[in-house]
Amino acid sequence: MARAVDEAHDVLQDREQALRLLRMMLLIRRFDERAEEQYTRARIGGYCHLSIGEEAANVGTIDCLEADDYLFASYRDHAAALAVGSSPAAVMAELFGKETGVARGYGGSMHLLDVDRRFLGGWGIVGGHLPIAVGAALALDYRDVAGAVLCQFGDGATNIGAFHEALNLAALWGLPIVFQVINNLYGMGTSVEQSSAEPELYKRSCAYRMHGERVDGNDLLAVREAAGRLLTRAREESKPALLETTTYRFRGHSVADAGKAYRTAEELASWRERDPITRYAELLREHDLLEDGQLESMRKEVADEISEAIREAAAAPAPEPDRLYENVYGDESWREQFARMDTAAPFGERLETRTWQS
């Protein structure tokens, strides 16, 4: 606990850093509020999962990542992309299915990534990316790089087999990885109590002799302290850990879900009172790090930034249909390999059915 206070003091003694973290949470909040609106205006297709209410759980861990570290996230990945520093315009462009999107319009909301910033995806199958993140940690270990992997997922993922296989392998092989369960209390409309025989999810690490702990995921500094400590331990001692950050999504599972059928108004209201952004802003005020009116001016600033991102994304070109077959394969000889699969087209499609080609 003493260390937690020390770490918190670090942030609270550095105004620039303290405000940077606040600004990032505001940016994520505004981004998702506008994504919700853009979805209802049919500029965004498919699924769209928002992180409104979960900003501290995301920023608190991702802010601790260093140059050699990698990040994996679930399909609720807008916050992850923004927190690693991807441009809001490129992220919004991906949601809009534009060529300038972070995945060039091939992935959409659930499959954001930023290879330069070592953010290796937004993944769409619940829990499926956990073994893959273990493989990334294995590669760091194989190459003797002093980096670590942060792998985020929701509470629902802890009941899938891949979760248990991933934790076992990471512990067995002593890999530098921190598994972060962002426990927002519901997997879609099913509560943790309804789905997990051991609802204190961090305790599942015990089965693998792995360190596990739970922190208040709406307390930015508590999350940041725990993540910093566990990532350092992973990097320096190659020890995995399970970090449970408890939080709440203010919206439904996705934009298509109002989130009210399975939750009470009282429950929502009680979590609203624990809004991670409000709480952090109050803390900064108590420490004289946030001046009167500064929060509002920051809100205005990020709102303008997101408006500009939306303008940019909307104006960007959509991918041309003739890019359909790009990137199915990447080996430089793939065209030659597939050349004999059909005399008309690489994947057996008849030339005359490719209507977009004149």
């Binding site: 990698y70 999107g101 972070v102 995945a103 060039r104 319009g105 091939y106 992935g107 499959h111 990534l113 290879v115 290796l120 995806g121 993944w123 769409g124 199958i125 499926g128 990316h129 956990l130 073994p131 893959i132 993140a133 273990v134 493989g135 990334a136 940690a137 294995l138 590669a139 760091l140 194989y142 190459r143 087999g161 891949a162 296989e165 991933a166 076992n168 392998l169 067995l172 790009e326 990137n327 199915v328 394969y329 990447g330 080996d331 430089e332 000889s333 793939w334 030659e336 390999q337 597939f338 050349a339 004999r340 699969m341 059909d342 005399t343 994947f347 057996g348």
Partner: protein, 334 residues
């Protein structure tokens, strides 16, 4: 050239690629101290150590996923699944993840990984250990599927697969492991390209198409037919995705008849795919509809007479070939 078994040819390919490229490492159950369930990796753990030859627990979804993650960071994992039947518990990793990653991430990251696994039947291994599921994977864009029938191809194709930048399912065959054949010497750096079928035997009367162990059956049948004066051309597909349709079409344009034989089930199988493609490309060349012969559509039974009845053995392939030829007025001599 050296005379090696299929197993030894695979081992030599693994050994050479481990030696050549330090990004290559092996991962799988019992591949180290135990030297592999089918002894393909024998001696490699002792030679390269536990880092390059990583033993895993029984955790296929976990370690196939770990292979994918390591490949995304630039390593070249060669993952062994003890038999193709067990890959089903890792199917999400192969189909939902490995096959999709490059595309759904806009080409920004790839998965240069090989999954080696034997399929096949015939040793009374029963329903859960006797399947030929390679077509499940050949169906999926983003994957490549290789299924060699002889030691030289096993050697050359495995080297190509390991050097390929995309995920490759490398399907071996339990019955082939002890089959011997000539394999080029290491100095030649011999490889077999993906997507090229091989005309294993030339003939003018009938084209028999097969892959993996069934190629050997097809060659045996061609010998039998030759004794009746009927000349079958045998095409070894070698890879199922990419599928070398051109070589099959060229052959059928010459023979005007095609029989596709496979060890797995016919419904939605290799024969179904080729019949559709050949039917279209060779519509005016065919003297009879494309014919198929495959394993009986039952879970593999245990009792020997039942198992023999379920397998696509030489007699069945021969009967189908003769029936097809007879339909075209060719009954042969003797």
């Amino acid at each position: 050239m050296a005379e090696l078994t299929y197993r030894e040819a695979l081992r030599r390919a693994l050994d050479e690629e481990l030696e050549r490229d330090d990004r290559v490492f092996l991962m799988g159950e019992e591949i180290g101290r135990f030297e592999g369930s089918y002894k393909v990796t024998a001696g490699l753990w002792a030679k390269y150590g536990p880092k390059r030859v990583r033993e895993t627990p029984i955790s296929e979804e976990g370690f196939v996923g770990a292979g994918i993650g390591a490949a995304m960071l630039g390593l070249r994992p060669v993952v062994e699944i003890m038999t193709i039947n067990f890959i089903l518990v890792a199917q999400d990793m192969v189909v939902n993840h490995a096959a999709k990653i490059r595309y759904m991430f806009g080409g920004k990251v790839g998965v240069p990984m090989v999954i080696r696994t034997p399929g096949g039947a015939g040793a009374q291994l029963t329903a859960q250990h006797s399947q030929s599921l390679e077509v499940w994977f050949a169906h999926v864009p983003g994957l490549k599927v290789v299924a060699p029938s002889n030691p030289a191809d096993a050697y050359g194709l495995l080297k190509s697969a390991i050097r390929d930048d995309d995920p490759v399912l490398f399907v071996e065959n339990l019955v082939l492991y002890n089959v011997t054949g000539s394999v080029p010497e290491p100095e030649e750096d011999f490889t077999v390209p993906l997507g090229r079928a091989h005309v294993a035997r030339e003939g003018a009367d009938l084209t028999i198409v097969a892959h993996s162990y069934t190629v050997r059956r097809a060659l045996a049948v061609a010998d039998r037919l030759a004794r009746s004066g009927l000349e079958a051309e045998v095409i070894d597909l070698r890879t199922l995705r990419p599928l070398d349709v051109d070589t099959v079409v060229e052959s059928v344009r010459k023979t005007n008849r095609v029989l596709i034989a496979e060890e797995g089930w016919a419904t939605y199988g290799v024969g179904a795919e080729l019949a559709a493609r050949v039917g279209r490309a060779c519509f005016d060349d065919l003297d009879a509809p494309p014919e198929r012969v495959a394993g009986a559509e039952v879970p593999m039974p245990y009792a020997k007479p039942l198992e023999l009845a379920a397998l696509a053995l030489e007699d069945k392939v021969e009967a189908a070939a003769r029936s097809l030829l007879a339909e075209c007025g060719l009954v042969g001599t003797g």
